[in-house]
């Protein structure tokens, strides 16, 4: 039901269109490329679109779907049924999870198409000039899409946990957005934690922060997966996926516990 409601919203279509426009426009902007390699430049547009619009979708749509139920009082009707609070929240999560999956699949497919088309052209040019043709990995792109879906799912789970406690949609969106930024920059705390330090208090604070906030930067291995395939071990990807799944589960459980005590 959540998925059906979400997919009908113009906001979703708007973000898909924006993301697609970004990917397609990368070919037009390639004159700005300063020697990175055209495919890298195009890929970066795609990665950026998925990151930016995907994060907006995850934060705003999750909060909006939750608060729509509260404000319209459909939650009253649903929660009066033999449906536990946890089931309600998990149902919301899976609806959002499906919409995020659809978003990632569409954008990844489009990016793959643009990369393939450009790689074919560059390959012909390289043949003529006797140089090595640049290439990209479709399997790497698929794995990257999966990682982005997982990253956005973690964000959605966090926003649901926030929404379960928040009183207003705006508060949930702002806090959710700040959490995304903090999660993307959390790796700095993790790096500092790995270095020796004398301050126990400082280290304790960093330790706690690095546990509570997921390190979302670890999902940004698009360059290595798509353009340098073979440089990322499958075991590393496995660890990233496992940590993402654990975080999503932890925040869903937290959200369910908070929502249990909420008065409707």
């Amino acid at each position: 039901m959540t998925f059906l409601e979400a997919v009908r919203q113009r906001f979703f279509a708007f973000l898909i269109v924006l993301g697609a426009a970004m990917v397609l426009s990368s070919v037009a902007f390639r004159f700005l490329d300063f020697g990175h390699g055209e495919l890298k430049f195009i890929a970066d547009f795609g990665f950026g679109g998925m990151f930016l619009f995907g994060s907006i979708l995850a934060v705003v749509m999750t909060a909006q779907l939750f608060f729509a139920e509260m404000d319209n009082r459909t939650a009253l009707t649903l929660l009066a049924k033999p449906l536990s609070r946890a089931e309600f929240l998990i149902g919301k999560f899976f609806g959002v999870w499906m919409i995020l999956g659809l978003f990632v699949i569409i954008l990844s497919a489009l990016l793959g198409l643009v990369l393939w088309a450009r790689a074919q052209e560059l390959s012909l040019l390289a043949e003529q000039s006797g140089r090595v043709a640049p290439d990209f990995s479709i399997s790497g792109l698929s794995i990257f899409a999966l990682l982005q879906w997982l990253r956005l799912s973690v964000v959605a789970a966090i926003v649901l946990a926030i929404a379960a406690a928040a009183r207003t949609f705006l508060f949930a969106v702002i806090l959710g957005a700040l959490t995304v930024v903090a999660g993307q920059l959390q790796w700095i705390a993790q790096d500092v934690l790995l270095k020796p330090t004398e301050s126990v208090v400082y280290k304790s604070i960093l330790w706690l922060t690095s546990r509570i906030l997921p390190n979302l930067q670890q999902f940004n291995i698009g360059d290595a997966l798509v353009l340098d395939s073979g440089t990322v071990a499958m075991s590393s990807i496995g660890w990233v996926i496992l940590s993402g799944l654990l975080y999503a589960s932890a925040y869903l459980l937290l959200g369910a516990l908070v929502f249990r005590r909420r008065e409707i």
Partner: protein, 283 residues
């Protein structure tokens, strides 16, 4: 256990602001709602009846006290499985058809797949929504929305049905139809709890009423008992001439009775309205 709902010493305090001030919404309420009757819960705005309903449905937790529904604690899934609820001014997803909504609610309420179609059909029939069930909810009128809300509340054949303002904003014809549905549910053995500001309808439909004010129960009992003025009688007489009236008054005075008023009976505007427009349906 004869009670459909048993409320014992229920109190609910809401915290206001940061200083920890409390607002007492329900104050030591005790109530026994018997099974198989239509029970009216009345009171002015802010009296605590909506809060009481929400606590009964497990949407809000009480500060102290105990509530049981059909022998089960109110916050349990078992209690909710046996309860159907129609909220005030219900909102449903506009893109769903009436049948899809009722089916969705049936699934949530645990209706087995083998019985699904029959349950949905029965609920739609009772709510007189069979013809309109394939249309999107976005095209429904106010009365139709209430009726489809009723259908989703009863699709899983609950023993207890709670209706919050079921006829608010509905025309008298639609309201009368809903009143008939409520009586039909009672005849099926269900217990119906009705919250309404339309006292005329409550009086017609309910078997028992409870009146709340400032979070407390001020009156509870059978409708005809609480409304009857036992020390007065009403006679409707046809063909009363002035001479017959004088003779009747002196006879009554001789027996110690006193005639306090003589008026012509009036029918209500609702009765007149229904007499005139009974033929129109809003389906």
């Amino acid at each position: 256990m004869n009670s459909a709902i048993s409320v014992r010493h229920l109190t609910k305090d809401f915290k206001i602001g940061l200083r920890g001030l409390k607002l007492r919404a329900v104050d030591d309420l005790s109530l026994e709602i018997p099974r198989g009757q239509v029970y009216g819960l009345l009171g002015p705005n802010g009296c605590g009846k909506s809060t009481t309903l929400k606590i009964i449905l497990g949407l809000v937790s009480g500060t102290t006290g105990e509530i049981n529904i059909l022998g089960f604690p109110s916050a349990t899934a078992e209690a909710r499985r046996r309860t159907g609820f129609l909220p005030e001014a219900p909102y449903f997803h506009k893109f769903l058809s009436g049948r899809e909504l009722v089916r969705y609610c049936a699934q949530l309420s645990g209706v087995p797949a083998v019985k699904m179609d029959d349950a949905v059909d029965s609920a739609l029939e009772l709510a007189a929504m069979t013809e309109a069930s394939s249309r999107p909810i976005g095209t429904y009128s106010k009365g139709m929305l209430q009726r489809i809300g009723l259908a989703q509340a009863i699709v899983h054949d609950p023993e207890l049905v709670i209706l919050d303002e079921p006829t608010a904003g509905v025309d008298p014809v639609g309201a009368a139809a809903i009143g008939r549905m409520i009586r039909a549910m009672r005849d099926q053995g269900k217990t119906v709890v009705l919250c309404s500001h339309l006292l005329g309808q409550v009086e017609q439909v309910c078997d028992r009423v409870a009146i709340m004010d400032h979070g407390r129960l001020v009156l509870e009992g059978r409708v005809d008992e609480v409304l009857a003025q036992r020390d007065r009688h009403l006679m409707t007489i046809e063909g009363l001439t002035p001479e017959a009236r004088l003779a009747a008054e002196s006879t009554l005075a001789a027996h110690g009775a006193r005639v306090t008023s003589v008026t012509h009976p009036r029918r209500s505007l609702e009765e007149l309205f229904r007499e005139l427009v009974t033929g129109s349906r809003d389906a």
